[in-house]
Structure formats: structure tokens, C-alpha cells
Amino acid sequence: MGRGSYRATDWAALRTSRKLSGDSTAVQIFDSKAANNSVRSNLVKTREARDNEDSPKSTPVIIGFDVTASMGYLAKEIATNALNNMITTILSKNAVTNPQVLCAAIGDVKSDRYPLQVTQFESDIRMVSQLMTLCLEGGGGGNGGESYNLLWYFASRHTVTDCYEKRKGKGLIFSIGDDKCHPELTRNDIFNAFADNVPYTVSNEELIREVSAKYDIFHLYIENDTVSDKEVFRYWNDLLPGRSCPIHKKDISLLSDLIVAIMLVNGGMTQNQALQGMNQDTAERIARSLSFIEIKKTYNNIISF
């Protein structure tokens, strides 16, 4: 997978054919009542991000978003706006080389039928069309977290990338949601989500360390003006220091700008440099979020306890 190029005309055609607009509801866009077998993580052996003539130096980019409870607005934003904006901005700013994007719907492995759904790595309009095949189960809730860690497990053990295998380079993972993450994946969790038999429970800290060999990981926490906002973000900041940032729900339309800005900072730019070229209003609104991103280059070499 990953052949082809992203073209504005393809996006326009898809918007017309699927009647995508700001007025569309999440239910209209994501009309699958059950997850398609092709995207269910327990039926997917591996996803590949390979170099090809269109993408000679591919960079895998994984966008995982929370689809539990009332998170439909996030999926809608990604389908109708963020994904197209993100890919066009990545290409125009050369934020990463030859992006191949995989989208993932993240649920709750403790309660959902489809705790993780994953598309293919794609470089062209199929990244959006496949996104819309995902099922918004709307489960989860009430048990202290969602299963964002499934995305890290999947990326670590079920993706194969030329970026890593040929160049020892890293892809990017962005998870987005409004809750904490369950602290670990038990053997049952892993079997239910991936049909893998593993000997032990795997903690988030171990998973993060493991997946960090192949990917730089980030989490975007959506603030909702609830009393738990500070506590939940503090949790993420402890788990992924310098690699998590808040974004307010009312600023969700700026999601793609924030993701690209994080990519640029991850690539070595300062925050100010990453904000340049944006209109003033956008830059001001995402500056606070971006200020939480701090890339430490020694992240993988020294582990401190």
C-alpha cells in the first residue's frame, strides 16, 4: 500500500460524491453499523508502509482518534476537514517526506466489540475514503480510561515500515482523545484486540518504550471545560512528557495545524518557526498547545527510574 499521490481534485471529487460538508453529521459520514473485517485489528496481521516510485522515502504517519461515547464530532472533524488539511499542509511545508497515513478508531478494549480499527497506510485520497469505512461504536466510558495503548501495541508489533527497516528512521503516531488511558494491556486485552497470545501483561510504559524505537509518539488531549481537564492532562504529561499537549474542543478545527506544527518541531524547528506562515489567529490559538511540546533527543538512550 501507499502508492499514488494526494491531489486536491480527488478530495473535491470525494467531497461531492460523499456529500461531505460542515453540515454533515458523524452518523451520516460514518454509516457503518459494524466494523468491516478489513479494518478490525484482530483480523489484521500487519500494515505495511513501503517505499515506491511515488514515495521513495516514505514516512508512516498514524492518526488514532477516540471513538467512544460522544466523540463523533472528532471523527467528523477528521473526515471533513483535518485529514485533508493535514496532508496538504504536510506536503506544502515538507514537514515529513512522502507521508503515508493510517487512520485508527480507538475504543475501549474492556467493553467494546471493536476496540481498534485500522485503515491501510495510504498516500492518496484512499486515506480519507478508507477512514469513512470505520465504525463509530460509541462505547467505552465509566471505567477510568480508554484504550489508546492499543494503537501503540499495534504500531509496534503489527506494522512494517521501510522508513525503519531501510533507514532506521521513525514514523509518527498521534493519538487524540478526551480521557486517560488504561494503565496496561492484559493478556486477555491483547488476545481480544489482536488475537495475539503473549506471556504477560504489558504496561503503557513498556509499550511506549518499545514503540518509540520505530515511531515518535504524541498525544493530543481534548479539553472540555470539565473539572477533570487538569488532572487528565497532568496524567498524559507524566506519561508522555514533552509529547502531549491539550487542545480545547472549541479549537478542534485547528487540529491539523497543530499536528503539522508538532511534526515541524519534532523535525527540529523551534515553536516559533513552526507557527510561521500560519495566519495570526490560528498561530495564537495553537501556541499554547505547542508550548507543551519539547523534544528530548536522548529519549531512547537513557531510561531513568
Binding site: E184, R187, P199, Y200, T201, I303, S304, F305
Partner: protein, 313 residues
């Protein structure tokens, strides 16, 4: 906590239950702690208690407590460097144990990698009653790192909360403290019972407590945990004997005093009941006999004094 090395052979010494003696497990040397050792212990204990108090200087004091921590580095087979900053260290039969701010690290001796595996398998096998999953799992280990080092030995790291310390560091405690610790240990034994497991090394090094919120956790030595009636024919009674032995070692006095009622001593000196559930019920009865029933006291306040927006009179 000061590391004490044997003056005869140089290896790390193990403190005994009283914290007044240290022993070398390699050459057998015994050492009576002098006032410098005990003063150091007291200073650490005072700092620890202060850092657990909740006031505006707490963060600063927490940090200062860890400024004097010792460090240890390991290198993994992949070339990563693991740095431990620890305040308490001891050597156990399988591993050297380092207590860091938010973790406990076990460096297994050569040839002990199977014990590291067993530790993980036993912890992973824990299951909790569905009604109370989150709260109970907080009191058992969660492995946050497992590494093969460049010399082929294993390093296993588990999580702990910052305010949690091993019972050994608390010296002797009064009866009311002992009582809440017994209650929490009975909870832990019930989880072991539920899972059909026996932890034969429930002791001052394996149990960690948070004195601020009265919680206890069974974090260490899971390499010794077995299924009931398996290899060494261990039973629930072994968990409950460990409980009694642990609190007996903590008890300030075995004389009856207002703070150490007869019923408390009766429990500590009793034989374990058939299983942890029965034992917990037995303890509940003796707890009431020892300290009386909980009393609900009407406070001189109204709901309107407690609820309302800031600024409301």
C-alpha cells in the same frame, strides 16, 4: 536510607526486622547499627513523614528528600543506559532491590532470570472481582520495565506511588497503626485467595504502605508466589501467617496498653482461619473488641455551610 556494606567482604548487608542489626548473607558477618546509622534512619524517617504531609511546601520537601539519593547505572544488551536514583536498597536471595521515587527495581543475580519470568507471570495472572477492578489492582505490582542487561542478567522494574515506602522503614508502630495495616493486609490476602495464590514472603520488605492515606501494597518478591497446593504445598494459611509475622515485627510492645488492647494481641498471636475471607471476618470482630465500633459524630454544621459557590455567605 543508607546502604550498609560488609566490612569483611564488601557486599551489601541486610537489615534485620528490628533495624538494629545488619547481616551479611555472603560471609555471615553481623553488625550492630551505631548511632550514626540510627540517626540517619531517623532523619530519613522524619523527612519521609514530612514529605507525606499535605501543605504548600510539600513539593519542595519531596524534592529535597530525593536530592540525597544514591544512583546506580546499568547497560542493556541494546546499549541503552538505565539510571536508578534510589533511597533504599537491600539484597534479597534472588535480586538486589532498589527503591526509587516512583519505582522498585529488581536486579536479578546471574542464573536467576527464571525468577524474573516467574515474577511477571504471577503478576500477569492476577485477576480482580469485576465490581472493584481498579481499586484493587492499585495495590499490586505493575511491571513498567523489563530489561536484559549486557551481562545477561535481568532487571525488572515495577511501579509504586511516590508516598509509598516499605514497612521496614517505619520502625516500630503503635497499636492503632498496626490495626489499619492488618485491615489492608487482610484485603491483600483476600485478593490472593480469590486468585488461588500464596505469597510466602509477606514481610517488612515486600509490603509497602502510604501512611498518609492508610493504604498497603504487596509489591515485592513475586518470584516466590505459587498457586495454592502446588510445588511446595503452600496454603492460604501461609499468607495469613505472613500477615501475622509482619505485624508482630512492627508492634511497639507486646504488653497490653490502651493503644495495644488484648484483642489486638489475641489476633496477632492467633492461628489463621480456614481462608482469608474467614480470617478477615475474624479480624473485624477483634478490631471492634480492640478499639470499639466506629462512632458517627454530628458536626456543628449545616449543608448550607458546606455546599455553595465561593463568595456565598
Amino acid at each position: 536510607m543508607r546502604n550498609l556494606n560488609c566490612k569483611n567482604c564488601g557486599s551489601a548487608m541486610i537489615y534485620d526486622v528490628s533495624s538494629m542489626m545488619a547481616h551479611c548473607r555472603f560471609c555471615g558477618t553481623s553488625y550492630v547499627l551505631d548511632h550514626k546509622d540510627t540517626d540517619y534512619f531517623k532523619t530519613f524517617y522524619r523527612q519521609m513523614i514530612e514529605s507525606s504531609s499535605k501543605d504548600e511546601d510539600r513539593k519542595q520537601r519531596d524534592d529535597s528528600l530525593w536530592e540525597n539519593a544514591d544512583t546506580m547505572s546499568f547497560t542493556t544488551q541494546e546499549g541503552q543506559v538505565i539510571e536508578l536514583k534510589y533511597l533504599h536498597f537491600y539484597s534479597d536471595k534472588c535480586a538486589d532491590v532498589f527503591v526509587t521515587r516512583r519505582n522498585i527495581a529488581f536486579h536479578f543475580r546471574a542464573g536467576m532470570n527464571d525468577q524474573a519470568e516467574h515474577f511477571r507471570r504471577m503478576v500477569s495472572s492476577l485477576d480482580y472481582p469485576s465490581a472493584d477492578t481498579r481499586a484493587l489492582s492499585d495495590f499490586f505490582p505493575r511491571v513498567t520495565g523489563a530489561f536484559v542487561l549486557d551481562d545477561g542478567t535481568s532487571l525488572l522494574v515495577i511501579n509504586k506511588r511516590e508516598e509509598e515506602y516499605p514497612l521496614r522503614l517505619f520502625g516500630k508502630l503503635g497499636g492503632r497503626h498496626i490495626a489499619w495495616i492488618i485491615s489492608r493486609l487482610e484485603n491483600l490476602c483476600c485478593v490472593l485467595e480469590y486468585n488461588g495464590l500464596v505469597h510466602p514472603e509477606i514481610d517488612l520488605d515486600t509490603v509497602y504502605i502510604n501512611p498518609g492515606n492508610h493504604t498497603a501494597c504487596l509489591y515485592c518478591n513475586w518470584w516466590s508466589v505459587e498457586r495454592k497446593n502446588s510445588e511446595h504445598m503452600l496454603t492460604s494459611a501461609d499468607n495469613l501467617k505472613g500477615l501475622r509475622k509482619t505485624v508482630k515485627a512492627l508492634l511497639e510492645t507486646e504488653e497490653v496498653t490502651p493503644d495495644t488492647p488484648q484483642a489486638l494481641l489475641d489476633f496477632i498471636n492467633s492461628e489463621p482461619k480456614f481462608d482469608a475471607y474467614e480470617d478477615f471476618a475474624y479480624w473485624d470482630d477483634l478490631l471492634i473488641k480492640a478499639f470499639g465500633e466506629r462512632k458517627f459524630i454530628k458536626m456543628d454544621t449545616e449543608d448550607s455551610d458546606i455546599y455553595g459557590k465561593q463568595g456565598d455567605s
